[in-house]
Amino acid sequence: MIQICQRAIRLLLLLAAILAAGPFSANGARAGAFEDALPVLTGKGFAAVGEAVDALAASGDPRAIPVLEALSDGDLYYRESDKAVFLARKGGEGYLLTDPGTGEAAGTGARGDFQKIKTNNRLRVKIRTALGALGLFSPDPQVRIAAARSLFMDPDPALLPLVDDALSKDDDPGAREALDLARAAILIKAGEASTPADKVAAIRILSQSTSQGARALLGGILLDDGEGSEEVRQAAGKALQQIETRLSRLAFVENVFQGISLGSVLLLAAIGLAITFGVMGVINMAHGEMVMLGAYATYLVQETFRLHAPEALGWSLPIALPFAFLVAGAVGIAMERGVIRFLYGRPLETLLATWGISLVLQQLVRTIFGPTNREVSSPDWMSGTIEVTSGLLFTTNRLWIIAFALIVLFALMAVLRYTAFGLQMRAVTQNRRMANAMGIRSGWVDAFTFGLGSGIAGIAGVALSQIDNVSPNLGQSYIIDSFLVVVFGGVGNLWGTLVGAMSLGIVNKLLEPYSGAVLGKILVLIAVIMFIQKRPKGLFALKGRAVEN
């Protein structure tokens, strides 16, 4: 109880400070409050840091915003010698320092001289609330929206007057909507302090929102035995139902999206195999290792960037694409010339030889790069989520992978259809002797076809490095799925590979919520086995002679 009172008093102080200062201005901030708060940060333990956060928030000083953000991100340090606080970023051998008071660069410092100011999750929540309060009056509407959202996440009843004040002054529709929601959340969390009528009004606002947060708030009302008003409980129950209906509809859409995204991963992993196995008939067990080589190529490119041009790291993936293609393609051509060309017409023996090659490649990578995972980071443009409609979030990297898989597929189709090489390739697979007679060097066409398939596997490795381990075992986990996709879709048919991958992905994901991940996968495998009985040559079988052999 005392704690709550203390907290309320602290927040009222903060409120008074901000209101006194007035929005959009730092001039009125209590002089010296910011400067006084900084040294508190260097105190021992999380409690001291917590006090400092309160003090910083109460200062109402806009300079507190970057300091709190840095604290939350773990970028705030103090110098051990004089306890001076700095915002610090790693650069070269030491830290690049920024003075929190002036916001200007303050030179560099050696690592040993500085101590990081630690935070934990509880402090981060506190910081988020403080930032929310501080950001409500920012001139930038985006900052205001973000501030309102963080208040929605951690609603603090003491901040109600502040939110009301912000609402009365804000005329940006986005910010107003966010503020309305934050206000509703605060009203609901306020307990005795808000009237049932207030709460019902708040519930009405929340019921329009389709978010897990709103549902959590409404659920909280029903769970709270202290909530005596029957009216409120009923309204909450009804609103919750509305939200759940919408959410479950969205969940289905999301599920299908996840299926498509899994399908596109399968597609990426399988496209290369659709060439080496589907078109050329090589049971290429080293296909997974080509994917792995592509992922390691990505790692190499990123390492080079990290060493020489860390600011351009975002470009590493586009540059890794051709590199991975060339590396995997070159290994593929070497494999074809060195081993596989002696085995044409003996498909089952290509299985044994390529299995041997895959063991060698795995161990080679393990010897060179070590057995542990390598770090491949995601560029900024591939992280985060996109909100399609309220409550429906698609992850950006999955969207990229879906787009990328389709681009690779269609580019490959175009190569096969419209280029001279594609023509020669089709000629050689359809009638080798005739192609030879027409002057096509079928041996080299074979080599480059295999190189193309391997290179595409390498490109897939670039994409898979974004969602999976970059380790010597990477390829192993995709090889069986890849073969299943190609066989299920119909050997030698790229459309079949597309449809096969997508249907396996979607079916798998639709089953998963009901059966669990393992059973879902087993069911899909059994379904494929049964399907092959019905159509022994896959979904899109190549038209051939009526009798095999």
Binding site: K118, G219, A251, L262, E375, V518
Partner: protein
């Protein structure tokens, strides 16, 4: 003419093959003390176990630099069980009877330990097992230097329920479908129930090994956590599957402040394969973090970097377990004056070695160590920052108090017990 020659030729081939079997078993003279290292260097577990092999080689080299043991040099015998569980048993047998090693340091997965256990018991040799595990086992031939559930899982959940940890009242227990997560979650469920958390506030979910598509499960977590109670995730997801799991968490924008994940199988080594910026604030519970600032730890890290010749390599909890286990074994051998297994086993009890994180580890009669428990938050540099630790050390418990069948069992390998799973004292010879 041909038949006899053909026959003799075939016989010759067979003879050579048979001869090599016998040749393989010829024992060598023992002018060194042999230390067997049984860690996978290929296959799926190589990712974790290779580091431990290197750590052992380093420790042995250090000991030899100090003049060896009992006036003899230590000799490492490295084999590769290739992440193949029956091969673990075969290699263990080969190490003990073929190479005549005096002690074995090895294994990572529970199944590999279960596979070699009968071999060590039959041949009465010693195994030091360095990884956190599910408990529910006690063998007089195995010293468990990793954490038992009460040295990792229970303190971690207590932290999550505390005010500093966020005061969680709803838990999602996520694990790979094998014995360690199953047992740990069973213990945790009993513990949470005892703390007044109802079963509907506990979600248990299992995934296969190497699970790489976490979209559905992470969406489920989001939904599970939005029911109006503060929720936390306890992850016993195994090795390979962690990287895609954390990548998916980051992509779906789950922040540690809202839904903290505490992991028992994620250490510095696993984080080395990840960009940890979006994961800051998620937690792990171990007995050791590389970031802990003690003179012993600094010296260990420096020695490791010097040995492996790579400043970027990290150290982790199982490496510390080997460090403690190896040094204890060395002390015990010195005390016993012999490498004889029975003498060394007796000498092991009560052996003390300084932890790298401060405090002293002691070997107890149930073959488990007393260790401090640390909770760390993931930092953006791939390290952990300790946010909470036990005030003293915690004694490892072979049999959990939270499982009815095992609560009544006692592991004690000193007279009059000499039994790992008994309810009453058992005397030698019956």
């Amino acid at each position: 003419m041909g038949k006899v020659r053909r026959l003799s030729r075939t016989l010759a081939i067979a003879g050579v093959a048979a001869g090599t079997w016998f040749g393989a078993t010829a024992a060598q003279a023992a002018d060194t003390i042999k230390v067997g290292i049984l860690h996978s260097l290929s296959g799926t577990m190589a990712i974790s176990e290779t580091t431990l092999k290197d750590a052992m080689l380093m420790l042995i080299e250090q000991q030899n630099a100090k003049g060896g043991l009992l006036g003899k040099k230590l000799e490492a015998v490295v084999v590769d069980p290739a992440s193949n569980w029956p091969l673990f048993a075969e290699k263990a047998r080969e190490l003990i009877t073929g190479d005549k090693v005096d002690v074995v340091f090895g294994c990572w997965t529970s199944v590999s330990r279960k596979s070699v256990l009968p071999v060590f018991e039959e041949l009465n040799s010693l195994l030091f097992y360095p990884v956190q595990y599910e408990g529910e086992e006690s063998s007089r031939n195995v010293f468990y230097t990793g954490a038992a559930p009460n040295q990792q899982a229970i303190p971690a959940v207590e932290y999550l329920m505390s005010e500093d940890g966020g005061g969680a009242t709803r838990f999602a227990l996520l694990g790979t479908d094998y014995v360690y997560p199953r047992t740990t979650n069973k213990i945790l469920r009993a513990f949470l129930n005892a703390k007044g958390i109802a079963d509907e506030d506990i979600l248990e979910e299992y995934t296969p090994f190497g699970h790489s598509d976490w979209q559905t499960i992470v969406s489920n977590l989001k939904e599970f956590s939005s029911q109006g109670k503060k929720t936390a995730v306890v992850s016993t997801i195994n090795g390979d599957a962690n990287v895609p799991f954390y990548k998916e968490l980051a992509n779906q924008g789950i922040k540690a402040e809202d839904l903290p994940v505490v992991a028992f199988s994620v250490g510095e080594e696993e984080l080395a394969g990840l960009d940890t910026t979006p994961l800051v604030g998620h937690l792990a519970a171990w007995n050791y973090f590389m970031s802990v600032d003690t003179p012993e730890n600094d010296a260990f890290i420096e020695a490791w970097h010097g040995y492996i010749k790579d400043e970027k390599r990290v150290t982790n909890d199982p490496m510390e377990a080997h460090y403690i286990g190896f040094n204890m074994w060395v002390q015990a051998v010195k005390q016993a004056g012999t490498t004889n297994v029975d003498a060394v086993r007796q000498a092991m009890y009560g052996q003390q070695v300084k932890n790298l994180t401060g405090g002293v580890a002691e070997m107890h009669v149930n073959h488990h160590l007393s260790k401090p428990v640390l909770i760390g938050e993931i930092q953006d540099d791939g390290q952990f920052e300790t946010v909470w630790e036990t005030s003293g050390t915690v004694i490892g418990d072979a049999w959990s108090d939270f499982i009815p069948e095992s609560a009544k069992l006692t592991a004690d390998w000193t007279y009059p017990w000499v039994c790992g799973n008994c309810e009453k004292p058992k005397y030698l010879g019956n």
